[in-house]
Structure formats: structure tokens, C-alpha cells
């Protein structure tokens, strides 16, 4: 691993103290990773910031345009629409998926009969490929005569719903498979968290005659705090970066109808790789970065303090 070339360096090596040797080992272990993180993470980050101040478009060399891209972004009604959509994915998706998965985990934890089987049922969607399942869901949402959900609704006398062809229903319709796919993971994490709570806490509470709801509120949830923080941050980041489902479910009118389902990552993709406006897209990525940063910091602050 170390440049252990012939005589001279070998003597140098022998002359070192044990501590020095260990430091050398440490840096040699870190050499490739440091190179990797510098070239593949930090340098591109700086480059993204730099590009966001240019008008680079793949065809012409980049030239510095100052804040022009950011000014354009702020004045672009599409950006604000996309911003609202992304926020909607986050504020509907995160609480909804956490509530469902907590309820499932909480009750599943007490079930012994076919426990593994039921857990597997909830977990399976987590193993599917979002790009593949998006097409399955897209099919479900079709109007009659081919759509499964509308076929079911019609058969019980409920009028068919437009789903992906509606400006109000499309976003929840796309969110559903994203929530669906993530539930299994969250259930498992919640169950791990529940099991980490020592049973003596519960026994003491029972002796005190606390109601079940009180126990849930006063013991279970506070002790699950680390798990909840982890899941909130983890799933928020996931919903803020939603792309696969939207791209595949609205392929013919990406982010449509009327941009009501377009999340910021799809806007970035279209700006960069369809309109080829790399500078403008870079500015959007910087904004996404800031949003993620702010959301994570707020969540950590709020959830840690309480």
C-alpha cells in the first residue's frame, strides 16, 4: 500500500516510531477515497456553483452572466409552480407515509401469527424498481375500459375519475406509488426502534395503571425520537427528489397536465438535458441544494429540541 520501494525508503520506514507508522497507514488508507471525494464530489459541487453563473448550453462555450440565471428563475412562473409541487410532495408524502408505517409497525409488532409473512407483504414493494412500477400504476389509473381502478369504481357505481388527467388528482396519484414503495422500509425501521425500547419501561407503566394511549404518547413516541428523526429526514429528502415516478407516469406530457405534477428534479432534467440550458439548470440545482439543506436543518432542530 505504501510506497515501500527499495533500500532508502525501507530504512526511512524502519526509523519511524510506531505512532508515525500508524499515521502513515491511515493516510495511505485514505489516499484513494480523498482523491475520489475531491474529484467526484467537491470539485463538481464547485463547478455546479460556477456553471450557475454562466450561460453554458453545450453548444457554445460558457460565459459569465452574473446572477442572470437566478433572476430568470425567480421571475419564471414555472419555477414557482414546480416549487409548490415539490413542497406538496413533501408535506403530503412524509407525514402520510410515516403515520401509516408507524401504525403498521406498532400493531405488527404485537402480532405473532404469520408475523414474518405479513411483514414480507409490506416490505415487498420496497424491493421493486420505481421506474417499472410507475408503468404499472400508470396503467391502474387509465380510464375505462382498461384502467383497473376506474373499472372497479364503475362496477360499484362510482363515476370514473380522471386521475392522471386532472390538475388536482394527478399529483396525489403519482405520490401514491412513491409512498407505497417506501412503506416497507419505514415499517421495518420503526419495528427495530420499537424493539429497542426496554420492556421494563412498559411494565413499570402498566403497574402505574397508565392507559395504552398515555403509554404511547409518554413512553413509546419519546423513546422513538431518534428513529423518527432519521425517518423524517430520510423520507423528506426522498420526496423532495422525486423523479422516477413522475418521469415514467407522465411520459407524453412530462410533469403534466399543465405542469401540476412537475417536481424540481424533472425541471432540472428538462432544462439541462432537453433544452440544453446547462447554466440555467445548474442554478436550479443550487436552489434544490439550498432547499434540502434548509429542510434538513429545520427538521433536525425541531425534532431534536422537542
Amino acid at each position: 500500500m505504501v510506497t515501500a520501494s527499495p533500500a532508502k525508503s525501507s530504512r526511512l520506514w524502519d526509523g519511524m516510531s510506531l505512532r508515525q507508522k500508524r499515521v502513515l497507514w491511515a493516510w495511505s488508507f485514505l489516499a484513494v477515497p480523498i482523491l475520489f471525494y475531491s474529484v467526484i464530489r467537491f470539485w463538481p459541487t464547485l463547478e455546479a456553483f460556477w456553471l450557475s453563473f454562466t450561460d453554458w448550453n453545450l453548444l457554445r462555450p460558457a460565459s459569465f452572466v452574473g446572477l442572470a440565471n437566478y433572476i430568470r428563475l425567480v421571475n419564471d412562473p414555472l419555477f414557482w409552480q414546480v416549487f409548490r409541487n415539490t413542497a406538496a410532495y413533501l408535506v403530503i408524502g412524509t407525514p402520510l407515509s410515516l403515520l401509516i408505517s408507524f401504525a403498521v409497525a406498532y400493531y405488527l409488532d404485537r402480532v405473532t401469527f404469520m408475523h414474518g409473512f405479513i411483514r414480507a407483504l409490506y416490505f415487498l414493494p420496497f424491493l421493486t424498481t420505481a421506474a417499472a412500477m410507475a408503468w404499472v400504476w400508470r396503467w391502474f389509473y387509465q380510464p375505462v375500459p382498461i384502467g383497473v381502478i376506474n373499472g372497479f369504481l364503475s362496477s360499484i357505481g362510482i363515476p370514473q375519475q380522471p386521475f392522471l388527467r386532472s390538475v388536482t388528482q394527478a399529483l396525489p396519484a403519482i405520490l401514491a406509488p412513491a409512498v407505497w414503495a417506501g412503506l416497507g422500509f419505514q415499517v421495518i425501521i420503526f419495528m427495530a426502534g420499537l424493539r429497542a425500547i426496554p420492556s421494563s419501561y412498559y411494565e413499570a407503566a402498566r403497574i402505574d395503571g397508565l392507559s395504552e394511549f398515555t403509554i404511547l404518547r409518554k413512553i413509546t413516541i419519546p423513546l422513538l425520537k431518534p428513529t423518527i428523526v432519521f425517518l423524517v429526514v430520510f423520507s423528506s429528502i426522498g420526496f423532495l427528489r422525486i423523479f422516477d415516478q413522475v418521469y415514467n407516469m407522465t411520459f407524453n406530457d412530462p410533469g403534466g397536465p399543465l405542469n401540476t405534477t412537475k417536481p424540481i428534479v424533472l425541471m432540472i432534467y428538462q432544462t439541462a438535458f432537453k433544452s440544453m440550458e446547462m447554466g440555467y439548470a445548474a442554478a436550479q440545482t443550487v436552489v434544490l441544494f439550498l432547499i434540502l439543506l434548509v429542510v434538513s436543518l429545520i427538521q433536525l432542530r425541531v425534532l431534536k429540541d422537542r
Binding site: 453548444l59 387509465q142 375505462v144 370514473q160 392522471l164 406530457d253 399543465l258 438535458f273 432537453k274 440544453m276
Partner: protein, 416 residues
């Protein structure tokens, strides 16, 4: 770090594999993925290689959605294709980025091009130079399901000729269930398909307007003609209720599945529709309205990229000449259904009397070609315009004005 080496080795191995070990001149050809086009091009390449043993052609394809970007990115990095297929509407961007070079006049004399090809090839001419030549051109027509016509009591050999007959036929063939849901469309509506072209270059003109002026740099449909055209289109869903946007996801899927009696589509769809076994279908010219017929024609051209130099340029010239030859056009017509770009190859008695190619060829005579600056974005404007009316119940007049404004902004931005 053995692992790292392994990865590097693997990457290297893959690139070597990809680069092919042939000693002859290898040129690369790119086009977008469309099954019948890919097969046709494979066939052409095979013939070309047999006739030119010193040249091999590597054929690479991508999804349409990413195609333009991939070409731009790789060619500007000095890699990628030597001969590339591009939509006629992209030519300005490609020239500005120096992605393609003018066709050498020795191999492609201008007087011959202009004498032998349909006049729409001039869309590839800039500053006295041609930048590409098409193998085939495409126009639109009305496809109709003969079985559905017959079942509705219509003559399966008399497709609608006028817009009134078209609406009447759609009303007769549409089927609904007890709650009024459409279960089989009279006309398959699909703005994201070809309907936006129909609206722009056909319906607007038939209502007495023009979609653009000033070499397609000024939007001109925000007036009475545009409004009538839009109203006609949205009425198909709202008033006559003969179709429904999003039904079966795509118009072509509805037609192919036998759940739409009519659809408007292009020559390029013939390959896919030829696979239909459960019913017979026919093709008619786009319906006339107010005595006006119109059509939309477009094409993909093949061009030589800036990367091709020296012996690769010579090979690229030969290949381009071959794929624009009458022989190649005939193969393309059979495999893809797109019409030959040379008059002599297209306007044969055989083609004109062909019940399928005939209507498309007739359409070509009075067709218009929109000079898009950003086809995807301009299409999106039309999609949104209709969606605002159909989904958000916006007043068509407002929606039209909004669309005109948005499209003008796209054109102005591109012109900068």
C-alpha cells in the same frame, strides 16, 4: 487497490469492445429509436457495406426524448457520430454549434438536389450551403377502422372527405357505456401525438388564418381563425363527445387496440399499424374544411458532423449519398412507410395509386412545414393550451392568447 484496477480494466475492456477491432474505416451513424427505422437502417447499412467493403458503419440509436442532447454533448466533445440524423427544425442550432458541416458540393451538387428532391429540402439550406439530405419525408393522413365504420352503418370504402363528414362519422362510431363513459372513441384525440400539428398547420389555415408569419418567427394564430380552430378541437370532447384526451393513454394505442374509429397520424405509423390483425383499416387525406386542404410535412435529414475528416469524411460522403439514393428510399418506404424524398422515387404511378401511400403523397403537395425553434417546447404550448380548456375549463379565447404569448417567448429566446 486490486479492485480499482479491476474496474479500470473492465471499463477499458468495454471501451475496446465498443470501439471494435476492424481495421477498415469505421464511421458511426446515429438516429433515434423507432423500431421500423432501426431495422430499415440496418438493412441499408448491410447493403452499403457489401458494396463498399473497406467501410463499416456502426449504428447507434437513442430514445427520441434524449436524442438531440446526446448528439450535441458528444459531438461538441469531439466524439460521437460521423453521420447523424437530425430533425429539420434543429438545423440552426446544429450549425450554430458547428456540429455539422456543409455537404461537399462535389458529391452533392446543388442544382441536382433542387431538381430531384421535393422543395421542402430547402429547409436544410443556409447561406448557400446544404447541411443535410433526407431519405424520406412524412405527411399526415386520417386513418380509419373499416370494421368500426361498417358496424356503424358507414361505407368502409368511403372515408370522410370534409370536416362535416368527419364529425358525422365520429359521432356515428363513438361508443359509450351506461354512465356515458366512452368505451370506444369516434376520433382518437391526442395533442401530444400529431394533433398539435393538425391544429397548427391545418385547422388554423382552414379557418382562414396562418399559424405564423415572418418565416415562422411571429406567432399569428391569436385571432378569430385560431379561436375557431381551437373551439373545433375541444368541442370534439366537450360537445360532440366523440373522443377524450388520455383515452387508452395514446391515440395510436386506442386505434391499434380497435377502440378508436379514426386517428390522425403520420406515415411513420404505418409500420406499427401494419401489425394490426383484428381489423382492416384505410387511409384518407385529411378532411377538407371551407374548401381548404392542408397538411403538415416534416422530415429527418442525414448530415455529416464536424468530426468526420479525411478518410472518414470520404466514407461519410459515400454513406450519405447511398442513404439518399432512390434505392435506399424504396427500401425505407417498404420498411418504414415514409415517402421517398426524391420526386422520381415518390411520384411513381404505383405509389400514387396505392391506397395507403396515395393519400399521404397527395397531402405532400399542399403540405406546410413549420420551422420550429424548439419542437418539444412548442408542442408543449399546444398541449397546455388544450388542457387548460378541457381540464381547467378556461375560456378558449384566454387559453389561446396565453399559448400565443408563451410560444412567442420561446421563439424570441431562441433567436437571441
Amino acid at each position: 487497490m486490486r479492485f480499482k484496477k479491476m474496474i479500470a480494466g473492465l471499463a477499458f475492456g468495454v471501451s475496446v469492445l465498443a470501439a471494435n477491432a476492424a481495421s477498415a474505416v469505421e464511421i458511426e451513424y446515429w438516429q433515434y429509436v423507432f423500431d421500423s427505422r432501426v431495422k430499415a437502417m440496418d438493412q441499408l447499412i448491410q447493403k452499403f457495406q457489401a458494396a463498399n467493403p473497406g467501410i463499416t458503419v456502426k449504428h447507434t440509436t437513442f430514445p427520441y426524448a434524449e436524442y438531440q442532447t446526446k448528439v450535441a454533448a458528444t459531438v461538441s466533445a469531439g466524439q460521437g457520430p460521423d453521420v447523424v440524423q437530425l430533425f429539420y427544425g434543429w438545423v440552426d442550432g446544429f450549425i450554430a454549434g458547428k456540429l455539422i458541416q456543409p455537404l461537399p458540393k462535389d458529391a452533392f451538387p446543388h442544382d441536382k438536389i433542387e431538381a430531384e428532391f421535393f422543395p421542402i429540402v430547402t429547409a436544410m439550406k443556409r447561406n448557400g450551403e446544404y447541411y443535410g439530405l433526407p431519405t424520406a419525408v412524412r405527411s399526415l393522413a386520417l386513418f380509419y377502422n373499416k370494421k368500426a365504420f361498417q358496424a356503424a352503418g358507414l361505407d368502409p370504402n368511403k372515408p370522410p372527405q370534409t370536416i362535416e363528414e368527419f364529425v358525422a362519422a365520429a359521432e356515428k362510431t363513438v361508443k359509450r357505456d351506461g354512465s356515458g363513459n366512452i368505451v370506444s372513441e369516434g376520433f382518437a384525440m391526442d395533442m401530444a401525438g400529431q394533433d398539435h400539428q393538425w391544429w397548427r398547420e391545418v385547422l388554423v389555415r382552414q379557418n382562414g388564418g396562418v399559424p405564423y408569419t415572418d418565416n415562422d418567427r411571429k406567432v399569428a394564430y391569436n385571432n378569430e381563425a385560431g379561436l375557431k380552430a381551437l373551439q373545433f378541437y375541444v368541442d370534439l370532447q366537450n360537445k360532440q363527445k366523440v373522443g377524450q384526451l388520455g383515452f387508452m393513454d395514446e391515440a395510436q394505442a386506442a386505434f391499434k387496440g380497435g377502440l378508436a374509429a379514426m386517428t390522425i397520424d403520420g406515415t411513420f405509423r404505418l409500420g406499427a399499424f401494419n401489425a394490426i390483425k383484428s381489423f382492416e383499416w384505410g387511409v384518407a387525406e385529411l378532411p377538407a374544411a371551407n374548401g381548404v386542404r392542408s397538411n403538415y410535412a416534416s422530415y429527418f435529414a442525414n448530415a455529416i458532423t464536424g468530426k468526420a475528416q479525411g478518410e472518414k469524411l470520404d466514407a461519410a460522403k459515400k454513406f450519405l449519398a447511398y442513404v439518399s439514393s432512390p434505392e435506399a428510399m424504396e427500401i425505407w418506404l417498404k420498411a418504414v412507410g415514409e415517402l421517398p424524398a426524391r420526386r422520381s422515387a415518390a411520384l411513381t404511378q404505383e405509389n400514387l395509386s396505392n391506397p395507403i401511400y396515395g393519400p399521404f403523397l397527395k397531402g405532400l403537395e399542399y403540405a406546410h412545414t413549420t420551422l420550429f425553434v424548439d419542437e418539444a417546447a412548442q408542442r408543449q404550448v399546444a398541449i397546455d393550451m388544450v388542457n387548460r380548456v378541457l381540464i381547467q375549463k378556461q375560456d378558449p379565447k384566454e387559453s389561446l392568447a396565453e399559448a400565443a404569448k408563451a410560444e412567442q417567448a420561446i421563439i424570441d429566446r431562441a433567436a437571441k
